[in-house]
């Protein structure tokens, strides 16, 4: 299968930031795909499919995260995660 690498930046826009429930939603979606997914803030790079690792990003509202997906469905990963984070705001209020 074709190996595609997609990378993008997304901004955390809900007021409470990437706390546990949003992190779980993120991981749930990430795990629906075959691609390897890494998420990076300034200091840390973590596995986007691990709830423990995602919880240590401490991404507050306004934080820009770099998301990298690598695999046959990499493009779909990026669009699904962007929708969750930037459009749906994890179903939470903006500031």
């Amino acid at each position: 299968m074709e190996n595609v690498v997609c990378e993008t930046e997304i901004e955390i826009k809900n007021a409470d930031g990437l706390h546990m429930r949003p992190a779980m939603q993120f991981v749930d979606i990430a795990n629906q795909f075959d691609s390897d997914i890494t998420v990076r803030n300034k200091e840390t790079e973590v596995d986007g499919k691990s709830i423990m690792q995602m919880s240590m990003l401490a991404a507050t509202c306004g934080t820009i995260l770099k998301i990298k997906a690598e695999g046959s469905d990499a493009e779909k990963v990026i669009s699904a995660l962007r929708e969750l984070v930037e459009e749906k705001l994890f179903g939470e209020p903006a500031p």
């Binding site: 007021a15 706390h19 546990m20 423990m52 919880s55």
Partner: protein, 157 residues
């Protein structure tokens, strides 16, 4: 942030008496209350809120640890207490396994960033199998405190 900045060492419970989720939460919140960390008369309301949050989605993240938490308007500073159970508690964890170390966090409602920083610090260490194993082996307050202070000095412990 470090454990020493927000963990209430004197409230640590090295062997929990309760053996069910809600009982454990009540025991831990009550221990924080006894240590004077929650403000007078808030213990019951906070216990209720933590349990309510836990029912919405389990904070049992798998690998024997759970991190029940709530942001509450009655508390001024983020504070954490740790409780250990040698028998294991059913937290409806993600991996359906019992929980042996419970890390309970209460943070102020109006400071979500502080809450995230506390979580960051907790998971920075919990992701390491060695740390989880050491924590589970601690059988008294002083051991837990030593481990957390050592982790503060050595982030990859």
């Amino acid at each position: 942030m470090k454990f020493a900045d927000f963990v209430c060492f004197e409230a640590i419970i090295p062997e929990l008496e309760a053996n069910d989720r809600d009982g454990v939460i009540a025991e831990l919140v009550s221990s924080l209350d006894k240590a004077g960390k929650l403000g007078k008369g808030n213990c019951k309301a906070i216990t209720r809120e933590v349990i309510k949050r836990e029912k919405e989605a389990s904070t049992g993240m798998g690998k024997g640890v759970a991190v029940p938490h709530v942001k509450h308007k009655l508390v001024k500073d983020a504070v954490v207490v740790i409780g250990q159970s040698s028998v294991g508690i059913d937290f409806s964890a993600l991996d359906k396994q019992p929980v042996y170390s419970v890390i309970l966090l209460v943070s102020p409602a109006d400071n979500p960033d502080k809450h995230l920083q506390a979580m960051e610090n907790i998971f920075k260490h919990l992701q390491y199998e060695k740390f989880r194993k050491f924590l589970r082996q601690c059988r008294d307050k002083a051991h837990v405190e030593d481990l957390l202070r050592e982790a503060d000095e050595n982030p990859t412990l």
